[in-house]
Symmetry: C2
Subunit: 413 residues, 2 copies
C-alpha cells in the first residue's frame, strides 16, 4: 500500500468524441469528488490545452444531477483537443508549464481520457513528473470508436458506434429495397486504419438484413475485384448494399478516397463529397444501375440515443477505476478490459496496462476474422462484437428530445 | 347506411418509404382481416404495379404476430413504386387491366397508401370504377415524410422523420463544438418543395442545442445573404451549424443543388455528393474555416428506432379508419387529420377528404412561421411540430438490434 497522497485532480478529454466519453468523465469526476484524498476536482477545458492555458473548470461546483446526465450526453462535455505534445527529452516547454499549473493548484492526480495519441501524452507527462520528482499519479482512461487501442479487449465508445452502424444498416437495407428496379447502395463508415466499425455493419446481415459486401482497411482494396463482387450480387438479387471503411486503400498503401481515378474526374479536380460519393459514381458508370452513396459521418460517433448500455456502464466503470486505483497508489497505467465468460455469459473485468505499452500502437481486426474473399466478416467477428452492443439505456428526455447535461463550467482562479 | 358490399380487398403502398408506412399497412390489413364484409385481403407487390402484374400476396396467410411487427418495421414491407398512371380519359389500358384483376379476385375494396401522386392514382381508379359501374370502394391512406399533403393537419411519416432530424441535429451540434478551433457544419435535409423537415431541425435549437441557421424552399435562396449570415454567426461564436433543405432554390426557381457555380467547378463537371458537400465547399472557400457537410440521406425517412409513438399510432389509426369507413359505404376519400385541443393537450381526430380535392396539391410551410430574416423558424412552427414527435415506441429487439416483421408473402393464384 502506497502512502496517502492528498491533493487536487485534473481530468481531461482528448481526441475525437464518442457517444460515451462523457460516461467515462462521469466515472472519473464522481469517484474523484467522493475520494477523501482528492481535495478538489478540475475539468480541463479542451484537454491538455486547458492545462497549458490555465483554463480549468471546478467540478465541485456542478449540480450532481447535471453531472449524472453526462452518462447520456454525447461528445466531449469539457471540450477536446488534438494537441500533440513534444518528447520531454527534446522540448520540455509544455511540461514545465504543466508542472507550474500542477503546483499552482496542488494537483496530485491527472486522469486523461482518449485514444492512442492521448495515452502517449499521458505517458510522457507521467515520465516527466517522475523525472522531476513531483509526486503525481497519472492514469489513462481508454476511449475510441475505432477500437484500435492495444492491450485491451475493446474500447469504450466502440460498442455504441457499432450499434449505431448495425441498426442504421438494417434500416438502410430495408429502405434500399422497396422498388422493383435495380439499386446499389454504398455506405461509408469511419475507421481510417482499423476496420472494427465497418465490420460491425455485418451484424445487420447476421441478425436480419444488412450489407452484402463489407470492405476493411486490413486488406488491400482492388477496384476490379470490387466491381466484380458488386456485379455478382447485382446479377443475382438486383439490389446490393455495400459497407466500406473510409480507410480502404490500394496495395501501394494509397487511400482509395484520395486517388484521382479517370472514372471520376480526369482533370484531377478536388472531389466534393467523400469515398461513398466517389465509389457510387464509379459503380454507376460501371453498372448503369441506380447507385446511392451514404456517409454515416459524425452521427455514428455521437449517436447517444442509440448507445449500448453495456458500453455506457463500462465507460463509467473504467473512469471510476482509474480514480480508485490512483488513490491506492497506482500510476502510469491505463485501465483496460479483459473479457471473461461467466456461466457462458459475457463479462469483462478491468485490468491495468503500463502506459508505455499501450501508447502509439494500433490494434487491427485479425485477418482470420475476415472471410476468404475479403468482402465480409466471419462468425468470430460477430461473436466478438455482439456482447458490446447490448442493452438499451434509459435516455433522459424532455418533450421526447434528449436532455443533455448542462454544466456551469465555473473557471478556477 | 349503404348496402353491404361483400368481397376481397387489395392494399398497396406507394411512393417513398417512411418509418411508419408499415404501421398504416398494419392498420389496414388487421382491420380488413377482421371485417366480416371482406372475404380476403391481398397486399399488392410494389403498389399499383403489383395489381397490373397480378402479383398479390395473400395477407390471410401471414402469422398475426409477424403482422404486428409491421408497427415497428421501416420502409415498405410489400414494396413500393413510383408508377404514374395515365388519365383514364386519355388512355384506359391500365384501368382495363386493373378492372380485370379486380374481377378475377372479386375485389370490392381498394386501399392505397401514399402521398400526392398516390392519391391521384387512387382518385383516378375511383372515378374509373364508378364510370364503368363496377362496385368498389376506394380509399386513400396518407403518407409522406414531406408533410405536404393538402387538407390534412399533418401526414403519418412526418413526425418520426422530424424527430430523427431534431435528435440527430442535437447530437451533431454537440459533436461539432468539441474543439476550440472554428468549425462550420452544414446539414442537408430532405424536402424538395416544402420545408417541413428542414424546419424541424430548429426543434433541436428550441430544446437544447441545434442549428444557428435554417433555410427552407419556401423562400428564395440568396448565396450572398447566406454567406453573410454564416459570417455573422461564425464571428460571434466560432462555430456554426446550418440546416438546409435539399430543395433550396434561387429566385429564378433553379435548385441550388443543380447550379454550376464557379466556386465549385468552373468546368461544369458533374458534382459528386449533394448539396451539403457543395455548400461546404463554397463556405470553406469563403471563410477559410474548417467546414463539414452532412447529408442525413435515407436515414431520416427510415429511422424506425427513433420513431414517434404518436406518429406510429396515428399511422395505424388512419389505415384502420380507411377500412372501417369503406365497410360502412364511404368511397373516393382520403383519411385526414384534424388537430384539436383536449384540456389543453394535443389530440387529433380523423376526418375524410374527397380524393379529388387532395390529389396533386402541395401544402407548404406558412411564410408567417418563418422568421423575418428567413433563416430560422418562429415559435408557431415549433408549437405545430412538437406534439407530432412525442412518445417512445417499445421497439421489438433481438440481441439489441431491431426485429422486423418477416412476411411469408404467399402469392395469390
Amino acid at each position: 500500500m502506497s502512502e496517502k497522497l492528498i491533493g487536487a485532480a485534473i481530468f481531461g478529454q482528448s481526441g475525437g468524441p464518442t457517444a460515451v466519453i462523457n460516461a467515462s468523465a462521469y466515472g472519473v469526476i464522481r469517484a474523484a469528488l467522493d475520494a477523501e484524498e482528492i481535495t478538489k476536482v478540475y475539468g480541463a477545458a479542451n484537454g491538455i490545452k486547458g492545462v497549458l492555458e490555465d483554463k480549468l473548470y471546478v467540478m465541485d461546483e456542478e449540480d450532481p444531477e447535471e453531472l449524472k446526465l453526462l452518462l447520456h450526453t454525447p461528445s466531449s462535455a469539457l471540450g477536446s483537443c488534438r494537441y500533440k505534445i513534444a518528447d520531454p527529452e527534446k522540448d520540455d516547454t509544455d511540461y514545465k508549464r504543466i508542472l507550474e499549473i500542477f503546483k499552482k493548484y496542488n494537483v496530485r492526480y491527472f486522469f486523461y481520457n482518449g485514444g492512442n495519441d492521448s495515452m502517449d501524452t499521458c505517458n510522457k507527462i507521467s515520465r516527466y513528473m517522475e523525472s522531476v520528482g513531483y509526486a503525481c499519479r497519472v492514469m489513462g482512461v481508454p476511449k475510441t470508436i475505432d477500437n484500435d487501442l492495444y492491450g485491451t479487449d475493446h474500447c469504450p465508445g466502440f460498442g455504441s458506434a457499432a450499434k449505431y452502424i448495425a441498426t442504421s444498416c438494417m434500416e438502410i437495407n430495408k429502405d434500399a429495397r422497396v422498388y422493383d428496379n435495380g439499386m446499389i447502395t454504398i455506405v461509408e463508415i469511419m475507421g481510417r486504419h482499423a476496420g472494427w466499425l465497418a465490420g460491425s455493419a455485418s451484424l445487420a446481415t447476421a441478425f436480419g438484413s444488412g450489407p452484402d459486401l463489407v470492405y476493411l482497411p486490413e486488406t488491400d482494396f482492388d477496384m476490379d475485384k470490387f466491381l466484380a463482387d458488386v456485379d455478382e450480387v447485382y446479377k443475382k438479387n438486383g439490389k446490393v448494399l455495400v459497407a466500406v471503411s473510409e480507410g480502404i486503400h490500394y496495395a501501394d498503401g494509397s487511400f482509395v478516397s484520395e486517388a484521382k481515378t479517370s472514372a471520376t474526374d480526369g482533370f484531377g479536380h478536388a472531389q466534393l463529397g467523400g469515398l461513398a460519393a466517389m465509389l457510387a459514381d464509379i459503380v454507376k458508370k460501371h453498372t448503369g444501375a441506380k447507385v446511392r452513396g451514404i456517409e454515416l459521418s459524425l452521427l455514428q460517433r455521437c449517436g447517444a440515443h442509440l448507445a449500448s448500455a453495456t458500453d455506457i456502464e463500462e465507460a463509467r466503470r473504467s473512469g471510476e477505476e482509474a480514480v480508485l486505483q490512483a488513490v491506492k497508489g497506482v500510476t502510469g497505467k491505463m485501465v483496460a478490459f479483459e473479457r471473461e465468460s461467466v456461466n457462458g455469459e459475457y463479462a469483462c473485468k478491468l485490468t491495468l496496462l503500463p502506459l508505455t505499452e499501450v501508447a502509439n500502437y494500433e490494434k487491427k481486426v485479425p485477418l482470420s476474422w475476415i472471410n476468404d474473399t475479403q468482402n465480409g466478416m466471419k462468425q468470430e467477428f460477430i461473436d466478438y462484437v455482439l456482447p458490446l452492443i447490448q442493452g438499451e439505456p434509459k435516455l433522459p428526455l424532455k418533450h421526447s428530445l434528449p436532455r443533455y447535461a448542462r454544466l456551469k463550467k465555473v473557471l478556477a482562479k
